[in-house]
């Protein structure tokens, strides 16, 4: 990371009632850093040392623009969206903008990729930095030509004078770096004048991906890095009692065997050799802390945690009840957990696709005994083959660092798919009880939802991020705070209460795309349909009558219209809808499913979403389609089983994620724009897709699905 000067000549830029400070960083080219000025508004992050900042962009002598972000590209398309904003505000060409991911560094205010927060949080700073850079470039040209800066314009990476003179940003970058105070407004453009942002745009890394040039951690060529795998216990978090590595060490190519807390690592000249040697290790394992627990025990514990029903509100004539059970889920990113590490006596360097690199740095430093000097650990954040919440945790980094130190060699450590499925972290199972209190005449007097969920472990950067998003300093983010902040019932249902009861179950967890909403919202939206059925009302009509959000009404109306709610369908085919609002965005799904065959088949999906300013509609559509596939997969066919503390599923053979043949030919996405706030996108599409599918199944089969996935393995 470049050393930012103290921003004593910072130029303030105000966007959406927030003020950003931008300043030039000493560098041969023009480099502009930016941070939110938290003294300006109440909406500020917790830590505000003068040297900390949100991101920087630099303009190089060849005119290329590089934006460096403390965020990780895990497939969600942030590099493209950021490049679009930079190109828009700078008036330069999209293909001259490159977006890099920063190494872990405590000076980044927030360095966590999750909670659908990247564009919501960074759009302001990106716009401020780019607008400020543009103003400095214009000022530099004005000085060079001795013209009034206000008479100059910019277009396609050049500053233009009324007399026809022009200078490229590259030529001006060095002069612009010494412009401390721009002579034209450093304010970003009016969103209404945007010409690139808001246009459906292809990913900037598409060519690298389709040619195989995109590099993930294990594709990097770090000289001498030894392929390494780890023999892991049969039960979750089991431990090594003793091991005999003699046979493994005698095998060809094997360089070393290292005992770890998580298992026994083998490093060899190739992964083929390391995997073969791993099989030759003789290890005695101690069972893990969950080895007395199987599915039925876990379910019983969750049910026991529910407790008794609260008293109904006055005038309740009838109480409706439903219960739902959701399973443990593996994130199963396509790229298994992996890390390259090079550790010397006083320094560690890691390459890792981390969603929370500062946490990785801290964890590795602690593991190496350097807790007080974490700066000895460099974490290079690489592109990752999917995240979904799994890469908030950094087990492979700790393992790779320890093995590298023990062997005195760089290593590239890979988890096998089995490792990833069976020794990972999971979206916890849950049990839900919903109660709807009806008055005489069918009015809804109250809604009560209690969720019993094993404690979810949040990564260490969650607190800062959440604080910055909600605008109040949170004392410490517990599951309860997060639940209360994120779980809302968007209906006027009288007295509404939602509660989280946590049950300690010794199975490792990590938040999963859409976190609690993947269970709580799904259960709510299924029960809304059930209540409508009980009252003999149409599911859309009942929602329309009670929704407390205009944005939700608009997206619901859109799917009703575009998806032709209530149209005549062949027998065995049914529709379902669901709505959800979260992180400043609103969404509705309409799903059509055919239940006449041996397994339900989703025929059609229509989505309407209001994400505020749609920076890249094409990327947003991709995220909503992807989250829909996640939801259909985990509602229909993919879920984990726990057998005496071990995860049964080991790969995509039995963790039945949707395949091409299960996927409807189109998933239509309609964007509704109610304002220009930037809403969250990454997690938005999951809950309504799952609930709309469940509601369609209930209508098609006449039975409300209450246990997921609906198709048990082998069915």
């Amino acid at each position: 990371m470049a050393d930012p000067l103290k921003p004593d000549t910072a130029v303030p830029v105000v966007i959406d009632r927030r003020r950003f400070l931008t300043w030039v960083v000493a560098s041969p080219a023009l480099m502009v850093a930016v941070r939110l000025d938290s003294s300006f508004a109440q909406t500020g992050p917790a830590e505000t040392e003068p040297a900390s900042f949100n991101l920087y962009i630099s303009i190089q002598a060849d005119g290329r623009v590089v934006a460096t972000l403390p965020r990780t590209e895990i497939g969600q398309g942030i590099t493209t969206a950021v490049a679009m904003l930079v190109a828009e505000e700078l008036d330069t060409l999209l293909d001259s903008v490159e977006v890099r991911t920063a190494d872990a560094d405590p000076r980044w205010l927030i360095q966590l990729t999750g909670l659908s927060s990247t564009m919501r949080y960074l759009a302001g700073p990106v716009r401020a930095a780019a607008a400020s850079a543009r103003a400095r470039l214009v000022t530099a040209a004005a000085h060079r030509w001795q013209l009034l800066a206000s008479r100059l314009t910019t277009s396609r990476g050049e500053v233009l004078a009324p007399d026809g003179r022009r200078a490229s940003y590259g030529e001006l970058a060095r002069d612009a770096a010494s412009v401390l105070l721009p002579e034209v407004s450093p304010l970003p453009k009016d969103v209404a004048s945007y010409t690139l942002v808001g246009q459906p745009t292809g990913r900037i890394d598409a060519r690298d991906i389709v040619t195989g040039k995109a590099r993930y951690a294990l594709d990097l060529s770090i000289p001498g890095a030894l392929p390494t795998v780890v023999a892991r216990p049969p039960t979750l978090r089991g431990s090594v009692v003793s091991h005999d590595a003699s046979a493994a060490l005698a095998m060809p190519g094997v360089v070393g065997v290292v005992s770890l807390l998580t298992g026994v690592a083998v490093s060899a000249q190739s992964f083929a050799q390391a995997l073969a040697a791993r099989d030759a290790l003789r290890i005695t394992w101690a069972p893990g802390p969950a080895s007395h627990l199987s599915d039925a025990d876990i379910e019983a514990r969750l049910r026991d945690g529910m407790g008794s029903r609260p008293l109904p509100p006055l005038f309740t004539a009838r109480t409706l009840e439903a219960r739902f059970d959701f399973p443990y889920l593996a994130h199963a990113p396509m790229e298994t957990q992996s890390c390259v590490a090079r550790v010397t006596s006083d320094h560690a360097e890691l390459w890792l696709g981390a969603q929370d690199p500062k946490f990785a740095q801290r964890e590795v430093a602690e593991a190496l005994g350097w807790a007080l000097t974490p700066q000895r650990v460099t974490v290079h954040t690489t592109r990752a083959g999917g995240g979904f919440g799994r890469r908030f945790f950094n087990e492979p980094a700790v393992e790779a660092a320890l093995v590298s130190r023990a062997l005195g060699r760089p290593v590239k450590l890979m988890w096998t798919r089995n490792d990833d499925m069976r020794q990972g972290r999971y979206r916890p199972a849950s049990h839900h009880r919903l109660l709807a209190y009806l008055g005489s005449g069918g009015s809804i007097l109250g809604w009560h939802h209690r969720s019993v969920i094993p404690t979810v472990e949040f990564p260490h950067g969650f607190g800062d991020l959440l604080t910055s998003l909600v605008g109040t300093v949170l004392p410490g983010v517990t599951s309860q705070t997060f639940f209360a902040l994120s779980q809302k019932v968007p209906y006027r249902f009288g007295l509404v209460t939602q509660q989280l009861r946590e049950v300690p179950i010794p199975i490792p967890t990590a938040s999963f795309r859409s976190v609690y909403s993947s269970q709580v919202t799904v259960a709510n939206e299924l029960f809304v349909d059930q209540v409508a059925r009980e009252l003999g009302r149409d599911a859309v009509e009942l929602r329309r009558a009670h929704l407390s959000s205009k944005r939700l009404e608009a997206v619901l109306d859109t799917v009703v219209r575009e998806g032709q709610w209530g149209r005549a369908l062949p027998s065995g085919v049914a529709q379902g809808v669901a709505v959800h609002e979260e992180w400043d965005s609103a969404i509705a799904h309409l799903v059509e499913v055919d239940v006449s065959g041996a397994e339900p088949k989703v025929l059609r999906v229509v989505i309407a979403a209001d994400v505020g300013l749609p920076i890249n509609p094409r990327g947003i559509e991709a995220q909503l389609q992807g989250a829909t596939i996640d939801a259909l997969s985990t509602t229909l066919s993919a879920g984990l089983h726990i057998d005496a503390g071990a995860v049964r599923e080991g790969s995509f053979a039995d963790y039945r994620w949707l395949r091409m043949k299960h996927t409807p030919a189109t998933i239509d996405v309609h964007l509704v724009r109610s304002d220009d706030r930037v809403g969250g996108v990454g997690e938005l599409g999951y809950p309504t897709a799952a609930a709309a599918l469940g509601n369609a199944l209930a209508r098609g089969t006449g039975t409300l699905p209450t246990r997921f996935p609906i198709l048990e393995a082998g069915a």
Partner: protein, 159 residues
Amino acid sequence: MPVHHFTLNGDTVSVEAPEDTPLLWVLRDALGVTGLKYGCGVGVCGACTSHLEGNAFRPCIQPVGGVAGRQVTTIEGLGGEGLHPVQQAWIDEDVAQCGFCQPGQIMAAVALLRHNLDPSDADIDAAMSDNVCRCGTYVRIRAAIKLAARRLRGEASGT
């Protein structure tokens, strides 16, 4: 250790490895070809999908001994200097999310189109359902295959 000679992306290569070494690791570790990915190692995810004599195969379960004297093509060897029409269609339909499965998806799609320039939805289902995309890009994969097919048939609608 035996030495195996085969053609990789048009070049003759020789590697020393036990007969039964999975080709995936020969390519990635010994030859530094990293476009094909590890996703499962047991032939169930498709992340390593490449071509053997122009047909899709799974290097993670193919012993190196079995490819001696034969033509192996990975994503790196697909387009030559430029892009293969399927790669171009993948860009035009903006298929990729994380991208990790996409080299395998593209290789599977190219193999399908080699034998069938007008694949139906059922043909696409049959040819592509052994390749997992954890990011859920299937709708766009299908669209890209159809776009590439139209272009390969020389139809103007594909441009």
